[in-house]
């Protein structure tokens, strides 16, 4: 039987969830026996080269580019999993959600203490190469259909491991409270 294929990405996240995935320690050797990786920062494959079984999404959507990547994942992955607080609820980046985006940008580029006297031409970065900020940070499930949610900031390595092996082996997930409790 062909090995299941996994893709991962970090949208508006801090890569902490990817770090937590690496935190499975020596089980990573077991993991590469179990699965193949496609598009992922772990192997640096930048674009999908084949259809995948499982897509792990870290982070919510704060840029149009995040939306495009997420939609691409939905297109290429049979199962999408929101991994961690940011993917599920927006997380820390969503703290800006109560403030209009114009105010955020003005604070960052025009009025903040480190730019107030240096950005003399009052320029807001707007090169067309730059992605565009969304009006707020969206959790992934508001943009595409998400199949599973793994809580934590980041989710513990054991939780990610349990979830992955359960998905791969098509069995119920083993979920003791200690593995996914908040603290």
């Amino acid at each position: 039987m062909e090995k299941p294929v996994i893709a991962t990405t970090s949208l508006a996240g801090c890569f902490g969830c990817h770090m937590s995935l690496l935190d499975i320690d020596e089980r990573i050797l077991e993991l590469i026996e179990l699965v193949d990786f496609n598009k992922s920062p772990i192997n640096d494959i930048k674009t999908f080269t084949r259809e995948c079984d499982i897509g792990l999404i870290e982070g919510g959507c704060c840029l149009d580019e995040n939306v495009h990547v997420l939609e691409d994942f939905r297109k290429h992955c049979r199962i999408l999993v929101s991994v961690g607080e940011c993917a599920i609820m927006g997380g820390l980046p969503a703290m800006r959600n109560g403030i209009p985006i114009r105010e955020c940008l003005e604070e960052a580029y025009l009025n903040g203490p480190t730019v107030r006297y240096t950005n003399n031409e009052k320029i807001m970065p707007n090169d067309e190469e730059l992605p565009i900020m969304l009006d707020r940070v969206y959790p992934c499930h508001e943009v595409v259909k998400i199949d599973y949610f793994l809580p934590g900031c980041p989710p513990r390595a054991d939780l990610i491991w349990n979830a992955l092996t359960a998905l791969i082996n098509n069995r119920e997930m083993d979920l003791p409270y200690e593995v996914f409790k908040f603290d």
């Binding site: 320029i123 807001m124 707007n126 565009i132 707020r136 499930h141 409270y177 996914f180």
Partner: protein
């Protein structure tokens, strides 16, 4: 101001552990807790300003701005709305000339919302400067505001005459009614205070007391149902120079008001239970933690404790037992549901924010000030007295095999006889509806918002830990109610309001759940929304305490038991639709940056 603050600090010996009491006194005397007051007391207590700020900002009844000479807190619980809260609230706004959560310009009247105040059998109810005003009507509101404007005192505002039983006691003098409809071992009026302490305790060793309590199979009455005997034994075995007994009288679960009645009618039974627990565990100090909403019982309870000392039921060498010393102090909360969680309650009693602790260790090992602590519900202590009086075997003759004894229920909502019923465990929901005169019932909320909403198909299920577990609250809803809009949405808002904010799951997820529910109520929902709700309920289980873990229960139990109500509103044929529009989402960001470099003059 400084003089007043200094005398408050003196009253509590400049003890930072009493920060709650200090802030309560400041709030009460000044009407708010100013920045200056915070700045003054922090160094006096030898703690940082942030320590004071974080406690002040946590509790509902603390305010950094003036709350008006007459601060009116009107209950937002589901039963209040059922009894025409909207009309009462509108009249308050019209007569005072301000919207809720603001103060009149002359500083006379402040109007505020507040979560359930434990008066579900006499709604809508408000707290005005600590006094309870139940059964409000628009007419009564007009009268109240007129009298306030006329400069009448708080005493003069009361025109109803005092309530039944001890509510008329001169130390209470409240308009509140007990509405006791059925009595059992706990509420038995033939109770003789001190009988167990004087006649039985001296004949038993602490181990024998624990054995008897274990023999009764009594389980914690707060809702979780932990075996009481085992808890006491664990505390007994813990090694420490000091141990504590805490009574949890912080019933904040909407629809619950049994502790209010026990504190009013059987407070001596409760105190006797605490003394017994102290004897069994070896504790020397006790704290009776009472919710702020019941502060009108303060003088009454303080005098009872004083009386217990005078009769040698507390203090040193209690009942002549050499070396058995125990003393209880009262700690009032300041408006926070989560403080009903035992470790949050302990934090609060230490003068801090009521945030639950990470567990283990559990309080029996490391509780108040890190010492072994037993935290029991009001009713548990009361039942323990009866267990010692009549024996564990006698106690087991009540109830079912896994749930022995009786349960004091708070029944409210659409029924002819709302009030307090002490029944044996094992009653069915049908029995209770019949008992309370509830007809044409569409659903019953068993155990408050963190419990479950059951429909007629489940009315033959029984109240016990193995089936329908409850801390005592039952709210009836007849067919005139819109369960999703009136009940489930209200409860979900309650959890959002009362989250302590420590775990992000509990801080944010209930908001996402409410948005989903609103989407479905607006007839924009699709099948996937219900799937997401069910998945997110599991995510919430990551939270540190029961509040977060059960915050999805109103929605989940209504999906389970009233699926048809959801299905009526779900759009068919569409699998997934969130209404997300990338172009709309980008518009503001593009406008802010512009297509070309923007220069601002």
């Amino acid at each position: 101001m400084e003089q007043q603050l200094a005398s408050i600090l003196d009253k509590y010996q400049h003890n930072p552990l009493r920060l709650m009491d200090i802030l309560i006194d400041i709030q009460e005397s000044a009407g708010y807790i100013s920045e200056e007051a915070v700045g003054y007391i922090a160094p006096e207590l030898n703690i940082s300003r942030a320590d004071v700020e974080q406690t002040r900002s946590f509790y509902h009844f603390f305010s950094k701005k003036p709350t008006g000479k007459y601060s009116i807190f009107l209950n937002t619980s589901v039963t209040a709305y059922m009894m025409r809260r909207n009309a009462v609230a509108r009249t308050f706004e019209q007569e005072a000339g301000i919207p809720f959560n603001s103060v009149t310009r002359d500083g006379l009247i402040g109007l505020f919302d507040t979560s359930c105040i434990g008066m579900s059998d006499q709604e809508p109810a408000a707290i005005i400067n600590g006094k309870i005003f139940p059964n409000l009507t628009p007419f009564r509101v007009k009268e109240l505001i007129r009298d306030i404007r006329a400069g009448k005192s708080m005493e003069e505002l009361v025109v109803e005459g005092y309530g039944d039983g001890e509510n008329s006691n001169e130390d209470i003098r409240a308009v509140v009614n007990n509405n006791i409809r059925k009595i059992g071992p706990v509420l038995d009026p033939r109770y003789k205070p001190g009988e167990v302490i004087w006649d039985i305790l001296p004949k038993l060793t602490p181990e024998q007391v624990i054995e008897e309590v274990k023999n009764s199979n009594i389980r914690g009455r707060g809702g979780a149902g932990f075996p009481t005997g085992m808890k006491w034994e664990l505390c007994r075995k813990a090694k420490a120079d000091e141990k504590y007994i805490i009574c949890n009288a912080d019933e904040g679960e909407p629809g619950t008001f049994k502790d209010r009645v026990i504190l009013t009618e059987r407070p001596k039974l409760l105190l006797e239970g605490m003394v017994i627990a102290a004897y069994a565990t070896g504790a020397t100090r006790g704290i009776l933690y009472v919710r702020h909403e019941y502060k009108y019982l303060k003088t009454y309870l303080e005098n009872l404790i004083q009386g217990a000392h005078e009769r040698n039921l507390m203090g040193n060498d209690i009942a002549g037992i050499k070396g058995f010393n125990f003393d209880v102090r009262i700690q009032f909360g300041a408006g926070s549901y989560v403080c009903g969680e035992e470790s949050a309650l302990i934090e609060s009693a230490e003068g801090k924010r009521g945030e639950p602790r990470d567990k283990p260790p559990f309080p029996v090992e490391s509780g108040y000030l890190g010492k072994p602590t037993v935290v029991n519900n009001v009713e548990t202590f009361c039942s323990a007295v009866k267990v010692l009086l009549n024996g564990g075997e006698w106690y087991r003759s009540f109830g079912t095999e896994d749930s022995t004894g009786t349960k004091v229920l708070s029944i409210s909502g659409d029924c002819r006889y709302p009030g307090i019923y002490e029944v044996e465990w094992g009653f069915s929901v049908n029995d209770i509806c019949e008992m309370a005169g509830a007809e044409d019932i569409q659903g019953v909320q068993v155990g408050g918002p963190s419990g479950s909403l059951v429909g007629p198909g489940d009315f033959d299920r029984t109240l016990c830990f193995a089936d329908l577990s409850t801390g005592g609250s039952l709210i009836m809803f007849n067919y005139s109610r819109d369960l999703l809009q009136d009940v489930v949405l209200n409860f979900t808002n309650f959890f959002i309001e009362e989250s302590c904010g420590s775990c992000s799951t509990c801080r944010i997820m209930p908001v996402l759940l409410r948005d989903k529910l609103k989407k479905i109520l607006d007839a924009r929902g699709v099948k996937k929304d219900m799937d997401d709700i069910l998945a997110w309920a599991e995510v919430l289980k990551a939270s540190r305490c029961g509040l977060g873990q059960t915050a999805s229960n109103p929605i989940i139990s209504s999906i389970r038991n009233f699926k048809h109500l959801y299905e009526q509103k779900i759009r068919r044929g569409t699998e997934y639709d969130t209404g997300f529009d990338l172009n709309m989402a980008m518009q503001d960001g593009m406008a802010a940056t512009g297509r070309f470099p923007v220069t601002q003059s």
